[in-house]
Symmetry: C2
Subunit: 185 residues, 2 copies
Amino acid sequence: MPDNPRRKHDSAASKEALLRAAAELFAERGFEQTTVREVAARAGVNQALLFRYFGSKQELFAEVLGIGSDSVLEESPADLPRRLVTEVLSLRQTGGDHPFAVMLRSFNDERAARLLRERVGERYIAKLCELTDAPDAELRAGLVLACVLGLGLSRSVLHNEALAAADPEAISAHMMRVVAALMEG
Amino acid sequence: MPDNPRRKHDSAASKEALLRAAAELFAERGFEQTTVREVAARAGVNQALLFRYFGSKQELFAEVLGIGSDSVLEESPADLPRRLVTEVLSLRQTGGDHPFAVMLRSFNDERAARLLRERVGERYIAKLCELTDAPDAELRAGLVLACVLGLGLSRSVLHNEALAAADPEAISAHMMRVVAALMEG
DNA sequence: GTAGGTTGTAAGCACTCGCTTACATCACAG
DNA sequence: CTGTGATGTAAGCGAGTGCTTACAACCTAC
């Protein structure tokens, strides 16, 4: 029996609706500020189902983080810094469910911070390490990621005026020099 | 009558104890994760006094931010970047009440973010602007602050291993090249 | 059809939060 | 000594949190 459009009992559809709603809300407000009631409401689903399918808010967050954070990683390492900056600079207009937005608004919670570090941070750093032969490649890569993180934070969370108003191309040019200084200096 | 050591009714002492406790806790956990009950308990004071003297948790936070954030600003602009980096790198060992730690852990809350942007961010950027004659000085200064912010965040909040383990001198050297790239590029 | 497992729902539990209130205690002016 | 305002305290309010439970509605295998 194929998927009927108006199936009442469809756990897969409910799970996916919850995941989508959670991704959006975690991106908008961060882990802590998002309530399970909001997620369930936006998904159009009873909140008890959230716990049946994901066990806890924490595990739902981990599930959300597992999705989507792979797209950027498939780039070649050489393009990764520019791609990262571009992605971070695109956060303001898109109100969507960008995984970077989830990151930027969620590391206040210690458990969320651990997930972010282990699930996304370490993978980006490993990829960025390929950009240099320096013995302290991991440190340099960590600093690149830190600077990109700071940029996104200042722009999208702290709402720094100068950064929010500036031409993305100009910011990108400045950041490419930062990356060069870190990787080639 | 001079201050007796065991004065029972001393509003000034109570206020100061609350401010000290609040500074420490905001630095350790950030604005949201800190509860007024914790602040009052650490200050050894009834929590109702917190509201009598400061009106709200929000105003207490503003009061804490108003203190201490001036010390670094009195440096000469040329030394400011290095001093900023050094200060951020010192956060790990000191468990204390560093204003930078308050910043790093508190901007998830929108109201706290506004206070941070207006009370401390803008002042640092104004000072950093003096380091370059470029027409986009404010953007460059904002990016410097963003990178330092990202560094502190990756190290102290996200607990990035490579950054936490690295020699502070090495990190500082890398960051000075970042600052140069931003201000002179 | 009907039993039995899956899916959906309403209600509420136990807890924490910022904040308020009603009242006790103290210091000091008269 | 007494009364008055400043200071300190215990108790709790109302709202919100993550999560659980008891039960109804549904689908499917027999």
